[in-house]
Every structure is written in structure tokens, then in C-alpha cells.
């Protein structure tokens, strides 16, 4: 189907029995301002075309005008549900370019907050996914558990969503008093709560009926479209950056990586859910072995990395977040290109949606775990 510059289908392009449904930017189930144009034939979807750009805030251009240090709080606001991994990707890129060595304790703290962030992000995903499928209650439970994590972050860096915690050369500050105790309490509480969610929602027959066999993506398709994270692992491809290209002390920890089989919504959802258990294991290992030392390396106040370019990637809760950083030797980056996983996954939407019913599109979008902040930047 051809799309005109006004983003409408060209006239005369639809088949006789088809019509268009506009799942508009304002919709309770699109997780942000996403517009999806559905081409429907009776009950079956023929095509699903995403229309993005409603949340574009010129991140990459603004970053060219700010110093390297100042861009860190800006990266928070891209994938706002998992801000720590964004900051991590960016500061890792700058450190790689400038050849800055990060102290050991800082690396461990980075892993700690990244894994706490992963659990928080997956809880948001779980709650909103259940909400899309009609079950209101799991959302409230997920938010209730997420409050524990947000309290930890509030004590650690002062904010609950846009942390501004990572710094070039380390992290902003050390753990406040009581943090380790509270985190251990959380680690004791969480597995039983996760099992409750399994009983309430993940093992529910209605949920299984609505997600098994829906939105299938084969492994080849997933790799070809650049999927990563649980979207890729749900299709059976065993690839996790934390284990296969370790960064920031991840090589010191033992954890499993859940991999699905059939690449449907159910497998992706179960992968994401099981990752929460693994993150709990990692956090426990971090707390048990946290080394002493500085949390921040000495970095010149005005940082001027040598000219060159670098690409770093981290495993965010959504998939592979990549930063391509180009420096010209000055105090401000020449180019910051952000590789967002949700952007690639959105391109998989027509592939996943083809042949299914209109009522399935909500489940499919929910399984991609899309955040428009990083799609639109």
C-alpha cells in the first residue's frame, strides 16, 4: 500500500472489501502517542502501519549543543521507563572514546541500578500489558511493588524517574545508609510477589488463549529486522548483551537468560517475566560482593575526548540500546546517534499482525513493550 505525503493511503489502493481503522495517537492501549493504521479485511488484519513522530523532541540535535556532562540528564528522558540503562549507554560511549577508566565499585553500582531498573521497567510492562488485556488488578500490584524500587532510587539519587545518576567516570554518589538493608528486604519480598502475579495472570487460561499463537515471529525474521532483548529471545535466539558482550562488571555474575521457542506473544511475555527473577539473582550477587573504593573517577571539568567515533550498546529492558558517538575534539559532542530497540521492533508490527484479528493488535503491541520516548527521541 502506498502512503501519500500526508500519511494517508493513496486513493484506489484498497481492495474492495477492505477498510482502514485508525488506531489514533490517543488510545488507551498504544503506550504513548503512537498511531497505527490498520488495513482490515472483514475481521482479519492485512497490514498495520505505524505512524510515529508525535513525541519527537530533537534529542540528537539538542545533544550537539550541550557539553558531554550536560547530555546525561537528557538521555534520561528518552526511554523514560528505564532511564538508568540510557544513561549507562551514553556514559559508556563517552568513557570509551575518552579512554576513562571507571573504578570497580562504580561498575558494580552501575550493575545494581541497571538491574533494579530492569525490574521496575518490566513491572510497568507487566501492569500495562495486563491492563490492555482487560485485567485491571495486576497493574495496581505491579505499581505497588515498583514503589519499593522507586523509594530506593529516591534515596540514592533524589529522583524517581529521571535519575541523572550516572556520571562520566562513575556514578554520582555512593549508597545512602539503609540502602543495602532495604534492598535485601525487597529481594526477600519480590519472589513471592512474582509468583502471585504468575498465579493471577501469567498462568491464567484466558491470558494463554489470547496470547498463544498470536504475533508469531520466526528467528530469521527477528534477526533480519534487528530485534533484540525479549522480542528476539522470544523467537528462540539466545542472545543477551549482558552475557555475550559483557560490560560494566556483568562478567562477574551468574544469571540465566530466558529464551522462548515459538516467537509468539506468550513466549515474549514469559521471557520478560522470567527476566525479573534473574535480575533479583544478580542484585543479590552484587550486594554480597560489592567492593570498596571510589565511585567516580577524576575527570576534567571540561571534557574534550579525542576526535573519533565509537558505538556502545547495552541491554536495556527493551533490547539493545546503542549510542553512536562522534567527537571532533571539542567540549560538545559532534553527533550523538541513538539506536532505540523499540524503533526496530515497531517495524516488526506488520509482520506480527498479519492475518490476525483486530482484537489481537493490542496484545501484539503490548508484547513489544514499546516506549515512544525512545522511538521518537
Amino acid at each position: 500500500m502506498t502512503i501519500t505525503p500526508e500519511f494517508r493511503p493513496a486513493p484506489g489502493d484498497l481492495e474492495e472489501h477492505e477498510f482502514l481503522v485508525n488506531m489514533g495517537p490517543q488510545h488507551p492501549s498504544t503506550h504513548g502517542v503512537l498511531r497505527v493504521i490498520l488495513r482490515v479485511d472483514g475481521e482479519r488484519l492485512v497490514d498495520a502501519i505505524p505512524d510515529i513522530g508525535f513525541l519527537h523532541r530533537c534529542f540528537e540535535k539538542v545533544a550537539e549543543g550541550w557539553t558531554y556532562q550536560q547530555v546525561v540528564p537528557l538521555t534520561d528522558r528518552l526511554d523514560y521507563v528505564s532511564a538508568m540503562t540510557n544513561e549507562l549507554a551514553y556514559v559508556m560511549a563517552v568513557e570509551k572514546l575518552a579512554g576513562i577508566e571507571v573504578p570497580e565499585r562504580a561498575q558494580w553500582l552501575r550493575v545494581l541500578v541497571a538491574e533494579l531498573q530492569r525490574i521496575a521497567s518490566h513491572l510497568v510492562w507487566f501492569g500495562t500489558f495486563a491492563l490492555d488485556l482487560g485485567a485491571t488488578t495486576p497493574f495496581l500490584y505491579a505499581i505497588r511493588e515498583r514503589e519499593h524500587i522507586l523509594d530506593l532510587f529516591e534515596a540514592l539519587c533524589g529522583a524517581r524517574l529521571t535519575y541523572s545518576y550516572m556520571r562520566i567516570g562513575g556514578v554520582r554518589g555512593d549508597l545512602p545508609p539503609g540502602f543495602v538493608g532495604k534492598t535485601r528486604e525487597f529481594l526477600k519480598l519480590m519472589p513471592s510477589r512474582l509468583r502471585e502475579y504468575e498465579n493471577l495472570f501469567m498462568k491464567n487460561r484466558i491470558f494463554e488463549n489470547r496470547t498463544k499463537g498470536i504475533g508469531r515471529v520466526t528467528a530469521e525474521e527477528a534477526v533480519a529486522y534487528g530485534a533484540s532483548g525479549p522480542t528476539l529471545r522470544g523467537s528462540g535466539v539466545d542472545w543477551d548483551l549482558r552475557r555475550d558482550e559483557p560490560y560494566a562488571a556483568y562478567d562477574r555474575f551468574e544469571f540465566g537468560v530466558p529464551v522462548g521457542q515459538s516467537g509468539d506473544v506468550y513466549d515474549r511475555a514469559v521471557c520478560r517475566f522470567k527476566e525479573m527473577y534473574e535480575s533479583l539473582k544478580i542484585i543479590e550477587q552484587v550486594l554480597d560482593g560489592l567492593p570498596e573504593g571510589d565511585v567516580r573517577a577524576k575527570v576534567p571539568r571540561v571534557l574534550k575526548p579525542p576526535a573519533g567515533d565509537v558505538y556502545t550498546r547495552v541491554e536495556s529492558p527493551r533490547g539493545e540500546v546503542g549510542v553512536y558517538l562522534v567527537s571532533d575534539g571539542g567540549p560538545k559532542p559532534y553527533r550523538v546517534k541513538w539506536r532505540a530497540p523499540s524503533f526496530a521492533h515497531l517495524r516488526l508490527l506488520p509482520v506480527m499482525a498479519k492475518g490476525h484479528m483486530v482484537a489481537d493488535i493490542v496484545a501484539i503491541i503490548g508484547s513489544i513493550d514499546i516506549i515512544l520516548g525512545e522511538v521518537d527521541r
Binding site: T137, D151, G178, E196, Y197, F201, K203, G213, G355
Partner: protein, 181 residues
């Protein structure tokens, strides 16, 4: 349909139709109902704001505030503009003058809080520890002009603020402390 035979992909509905699957499905509902029942007897985690004030945790970033020397009542700021340079959005404006003993002091200190993103870079940039983050969060004003804070309302109040710690204790903060991060 004009595009050929219908797509008969499995939709999961087929799973309903034998007795064991029916019984296991029913059992999954019972498990879910049990979870909900258990949660009914847990106490609520919400409370009524504003009747009960939410005491933020120590270190909460509310807005940048000027630390006040307890004896003199003056700020520690000497107008070096390090915070204004560090601010990514440029919301800090300081004008200085010199006192008799050649010490600089700020005569006008303006923060356009409507545009501040509370990123903490100014607090970290200050070499004298003159800035800190006040843990207040009730900022609503009727006019955008009222969101521009000046020297008078940026100074930390002498009684400080009550904040919580993770171990459950409450402390008073912001008296004369502050400084880096």
C-alpha cells in the same frame, strides 16, 4: 475475502475443548481468585494526600536552594557563575557586586524554575557548597511569572525540612548543610 482462503493460524481457542483442559483452565481461575482474596486483606498502600503530607526521602531533588550560613544569614555564594555555566538549560542568572572587603556577593540570583529540570548539575558544579537540593515539592503557582525564584525565596529556611531515611527514621535537613551532590 478477495485474498485467497482464510488464514487458519492457531488462535488458542482450540485448547478449550477437551475436559482436562477445561478443568486446568478452571483451576487457573481459582488460583487467580485466591491471589486476589489474599490481597483483599492486605492494608492499603495509599494514603490521603494532602491531609497527610508525603515526607520525601533524604536527598530528594525538589529545587535548587541556596545554603545559608547560620551565623550571618548570608549565602555562601560568591557569584563565580560555575552553576550557571553547568546548567544545560541556562536557567540560572547571577549578578554580583563587591563588598568593602573585596569579597564578591550576589546582588541578584534568579532561577527560572519553570524551565529547570532538577538535574543536580548546578549543585555538583558549585565549588563552595553554596547550592543544595531542597526536598520540597509543592510548587504550584497560578502564574508562570511566579515560578521565577529570586534570592529571597531561594534561601533555605533556618528550620530546615523533615526528610525520611530508608531505615524508617526521620531527620531534619537543610539547616546549614548541603554542598556537593
Amino acid at each position: 475475502m478477495t485474498s485467497g482462503p482464510p488464514d487458519l493460524r492457531l488462535t488458542g481457542g482450540e485448547r478449550m475443548h477437551n475436559l482436562t483442559s477445561l478443568l486446568t483452565g478452571f483451576w487457573s481461575f481459582i488460583c487467580g481468585l485466591w491471589v486476589t482474596l489474599v490481597n483483599t486483606v492486605r492494608p492499603p498502600v495509599t494514603f490521603q494526600y494532602p491531609e497527610k503530607y508525603y515526607v520525601p526521602l533524604e536527598g530528594f531533588r525538589g529545587y535548587p536552594a541556596l545554603v545559608v550560613d547560620p551565623e550571618t544569614g548570608e549565602t555562601k555564594c560568591n557569584g563565580c557563575q560555575a552553576c550557571a555555566r553547568a546548567c544545560p538549560l541556562g536557567v540560572i542568572h547571577i549578578e554580583t557586586a563587591q563588598r568593602e572587603d573585596k569579597k564578591r556577593y550576589p546582588v541578584e540570583w534568579r532561577l527560572e524554575f519553570g524551565r529547570c529540570m532538577v538535574c543536580n548539575l548546578c549543585v555538583e558544579a558549585c565549588p563552595f557548597g553554596a547550592l543544595t537540593m531542597s526536598p520540597e515539592y509543592e510548587f504550584a503557582e497560578y502564574r508562570p511569572e511566579d515560578l521565577v525564584y529570586t534570592l529571597g525565596n531561594l534561601k533555605l529556611p533556618p528550620e530546615g525540612f523533615e526528610v525520611r531515611r530508608l531505615d524508617g527514621s526521620t531527620v531534619r535537613t537543610g539547616l546549614a548543610g548541603g554542598g556537593r551532590g
